[in-house]
Amino acid sequence: MLESKIPDGPLEDKWRYYKEHAKLVNPANRRKLEVIVVGTGLAGSSIAASLGEMGYRVKSFCFQDTPRRAHSVAAQGGVNACKNYKNDGDNIFRMFYDTIKGGDFRSREGNVYRLAECSASLIDQAVAQGVPFGREYGGYLNNRSFGGVQVSRTFYARGQTGQQLLLGAYQALMRQVHLGTVQLFARHEMLDLVTIDGKARGVIVRNLDTGNIERHGAHAVILATGGFGKIYYLSTLAMGCNGSAIWRAHKKGALIANPSWTQIHPTSLPQSGEYQSKLTLMSESLRNDGRIWVPKNKDEKRLPNQVPEEDRDYYLERRYPAFGNLSPRDIASRAAKERIDAGYGIGPLKNAVYLDFSRAIKEQGEPKIREKYGNLFRMYEKITGVDAYKEPMRISPAAHFSMGGLWVDYELMTTIPGLFALGEANFADHGANRLGANSLLQACVDGYFIAPYTLGNYLADEIKTPPIDTSQLAFESAAARVEGQLRALMSIGGKLSADHFHKTLGKILYDKCGLSRSREGLEQAISEIKALRQQFYEQLYIPGGMAINSELEKAGRVADYLELGELMCYDALTREESCGAHFRVEYQTPEGEARRNDQDFSFISAWEWAGKDNPPVLHKEPLKFEFVIPTVRSYK
């Protein structure tokens, strides 16, 4: 059933071969074809702009007030590209290998090689758009090193790389809006996918300004709606991030792959109180110069600067000497949790570790550190009131990035013909753990360089399809169903807020489907989520009316999370091994490292919706490794 469509032949020729043989749509026909793009982050803006440039008619949707707010904006550290500008031995194969290994050998070789291959072009594209990347004094591009890697391949724009890349894509999109090739629908949220004869033919959206339910038809639909890590409530994600678009598509037949693999980021600010709405991320780039430690003594009472070297445990440097503070995110997060759980955590809630810049400041001088990370230090001070130039930062792991998402083939098409998923909304490139600075890369590469070809290959067979008539029965019934769902939520009339249910769900998932999982915990989580979902439909309360109503927006997203959360637990339960973001306590080495089981679990889990109250159905896509041999992942 699951055909990945990876072209045969040598790794380095697969994408070239695909592009040489993909079907084309001639420019006159492109004007007749309509494409819907949901989401305006890096993946969404870049594909909408690219398709507009090619002459397709594009409709672009986002729930924010303008496309420039999409959460890609918040990525700080950088974007990877194997330019080998530092002459330190970087090349496409090495980047491919680092990413495959970083993902714990749970991603497809063909996809990951293509990601590395397209990475160099992304820097060219962004520079041409005017993205102000960091430069050497001679005027050439600068870069730095990131977790899980021993070369310098991360390009950056101070601590605002996501913001600047997004502005580049947004400006390209705005140019197309001005030219009339793209129609922009801000403050519109997708609430259903419309399929006709098994193909994606449109979406039902809610206009968040008026409350009106609108129908939009197209020859193909692209979901670029980002990740669903906000399901944990406390996460590094923006408040509006949600899984609703992909979940609604899932319920229409699109499979979801590896949903339990959520990356827990090691350098977030710790939780400090119950009221907290999010955990702010400090960029991973800080680990280039910051050293992570906890006191060797559980009852350390001295201030951090007064703790002498011999009483500090630089546990990452101790356990992983080859990579040290730049160990990959899953390793660094788990190592922090291990120390915190063992009672060595610091701060008032004993839930954090130190990230210390004193040595870097001594060696490089404060001005250099200020230039590299100034905005991050400012942000830290704003939130905590602490000057990190003078004392170490306190950091803690937090839910961050979904490696899972809609299952897509090599063409980024889901199991529903004509429905594509790009960027974090798909599962494709990261395996069980995403390496730092590959997220911006994947989103951009999907939108600028991959989907423009693969979409053309699909649309070439659609040139005889007339414009989609949205008065058809499929649109009629989808719109009626959405309106029914909204009215049902409004009429529950209980006493509890959507946030209450979201927070409760988040706690269950953090405890039982977070940094570590166990069979017992996951089984408990599934029954707790079922009970919570039942309570939601009895106790929810939404004040206000059907027009502008944030509470109604939140409730719809939480309703979807309550179903998705259960699927995450099923997924984690069936995978009886430890790999990447998935650490099952039953499967570990005596030293506490993850024990992967390639014999039995070298596959992608793709889940099918089997209807309300039925357990989901698992489909397996076996992973073939022709060019690398999966090895035990060691960063020692």
Partner: protein
């Protein structure tokens, strides 16, 4: 902490709004300003009342979506800080806090503290880009950009489009926002070629949207969360005047 709030409530853009009084006890000084509003909303919801609508998303000071007038100042009392990065420790016990939407003709109020800032998108649509299509860019290092120039371009590119500059300007001018984009692109060799057309089109669009003119009070720079400099406005004027002279 115990605080008193006066908050602008307005059902939609068709009806008149008014300031309403609220009180909140047990506010944690470490709460962000938006978390305080969350807390208030939770209490309103408990009483069956309509919650207060406000725009926000990343809560990290970077997306630019939050932003309200707090005691008459855009994003509140702290310098160079977005509303989401403002914490309750900045306020005093029993202080009365006034919260209103950003006000400008070009930013109509949608509901309570939510406004429509799409005028800023249309200013960008008029020319705030470099005309490059996907997939044809030259090798990145073939266009060297001096470190200083790149840093200066970044200083301008750092604008998050929150609209505070418009809200604090007595003329509701968008000069700081527009000039920041003009400077960002004009400083770089990639964007310099289109600089003249860009400045004309963006300035025209700014006027068409109903933003006022700049009369150099510099309130925009003082309230900008990203420390965008008014010198960009001087550059915009210089580019604009150069264009008018060259036209003749």
């Amino acid at each position: 902490m115990h605080i008193r709030l006066k908050i602008w409530r307005q059902e939609n853009s068709q009806v008149a709004g008014k300031m309403l009084d609220y009180e909140l006890a047990e506010v944690d000084p470490d709460m962000s300003f938006l978390e305080m509003l969350d807390m208030l909303n939770e209490q309103l919801l408990g009483k069956g009342e309509r919650t207060i609508e406000f725009d926000h998303d990343c809560r990290e000071g970077i997306c630019g979506q939050c932003g309200v007038m707090i005691n008459g100042r855009a994003h509140g009392p702290l310098k160079n800080t977005t509303t989401c990065q403002l914490h309750m420790r900045s306020f005093g016990e029993r202080e009365v806090i006034y919260i209103e939407p950003f006000r400008a003709t070009a930013f109509p109020v949608r509901c309570d503290l939510k406004i429509d800032r799409s005028a800023l998108d249309r200013v960008i649509q008029a020319g705030g880009f470099i005309s490059v299509n996907t997939g044809q860019a030259p090798e990145a290092n073939s266009i060297p950009v001096g470190h200083g120039v790149a840093e200066a371009a970044f200083d301008a590119a750092a604008c998050i489009g929150c609209g505070a500059c418009v809200a604090v300007c007595k003329n509701s001018s968008a000069a700081l926002f527009t000039s920041a984009k003009i400077t960002h692109l004009a400083l770089l060799p990639q964007g310099e070629i289109e600089a003249r057309e860009r400045v004309q089109q963006m300035v025209d669009q700014m006027d068409a949207e109903g933003f006022g003119h700049c009369s150099n009070t510099e309130a925009c720079e003082a309230e900008c969360p990203q420390q965008i400099s008014v010198l960009h406005i001087a550059r915009m004027n210089w580019e604009y005047n150069k264009l008018q002279l060259l036209k003749k």
